[in-house]
Symmetry: C2
DNA sequence: CGGTATCCCTCGGGATACTG
DNA sequence: CAGTATCCCGAGGGATACCG
């Protein structure tokens, strides 16, 4: 798993702390959402998130798998094929992720405005 | 959100992207939650999150204020007094934050287990 | 198609001390 | 009490190349 030991330990008091540790990787929530939409293959998932490198997508998928949010199936064939599916736990967070997505969509104008005011925005 | 017709998504349009930019600072969601609980003064908020330095708490509060999630009131008196309140927009995200917190609480055992496996905590 | 190996760099945020 | 000024670190990821 992890090669280096963390210098700064993870706090694990409340539910929000726990969630942040496992779900707040940059693309994890997106991945769960897309997998929930039925997009299960790594290549497809990467196409949905072209801003992230392939390596990062794999890293986050592996992390989600280790944390029990998705399961991975590897088909022994050519060309190679792999599929990710939501576990029961992964499925159970979906409604909250969707709620976040909907909230963001509904407040798109406000959010885009405040984000564009931040410094390093192109 | 949609699933179809998006070969080349140039979008920072996705609600999940927008939300991440504005709410996924390490302590922002906690701060919104506590402010929603009626804990409005900086000192009190810092006591709720002793793992974060005072400077970081202030940074995140300022960011939340700039992004329209909280409003700040400074009372011109001695000793100094300041209070943060949720704006309408800030208030509207609260249910989702609460949902996340409840989910984390309900799945505490699982989350603590997977977190402790990947990291040296405490 | 799928996954790794290296390298490198950003930048969020930790610690501490100071001012009004 | 509230906020700032410095300094600094390290974990997360971006880029790229390579392998089954």
């Amino acid at each position: 798993m992890r090669l280096k030991e963390r210098k700064i330990p993870i706090q694990q008091e409340c539910g929000l702390d726990l969630i942040r540790e496992v779900l707040f990787g940059k693309w994890k929530i997106h991945l769960l959402y897309y997998i929930g939409q039925g997009i299960m293959r790594p290549g497809q998932l990467h196409k949905e998130i072209p801003e992230a490198s392939r390596r990062v997508v794999n890293m986050q998928l592996k992390s989600l798998e280790e944390d029990g949010f998705v399961s991975k199936t590897i088909y022994d064939q050519k060309p190679l094929k792999a599929e990710y599916r939501l576990t029961y736990i992964g499925f159970s967070v979906l409604p909250i992720i969707t709620a976040f997505g909907n909230w963001g969509d509904n407040n798109r104008e406000h959010l885009k405005r405040v984000i564009s005011q931040k410094v390093n925005f192109l």
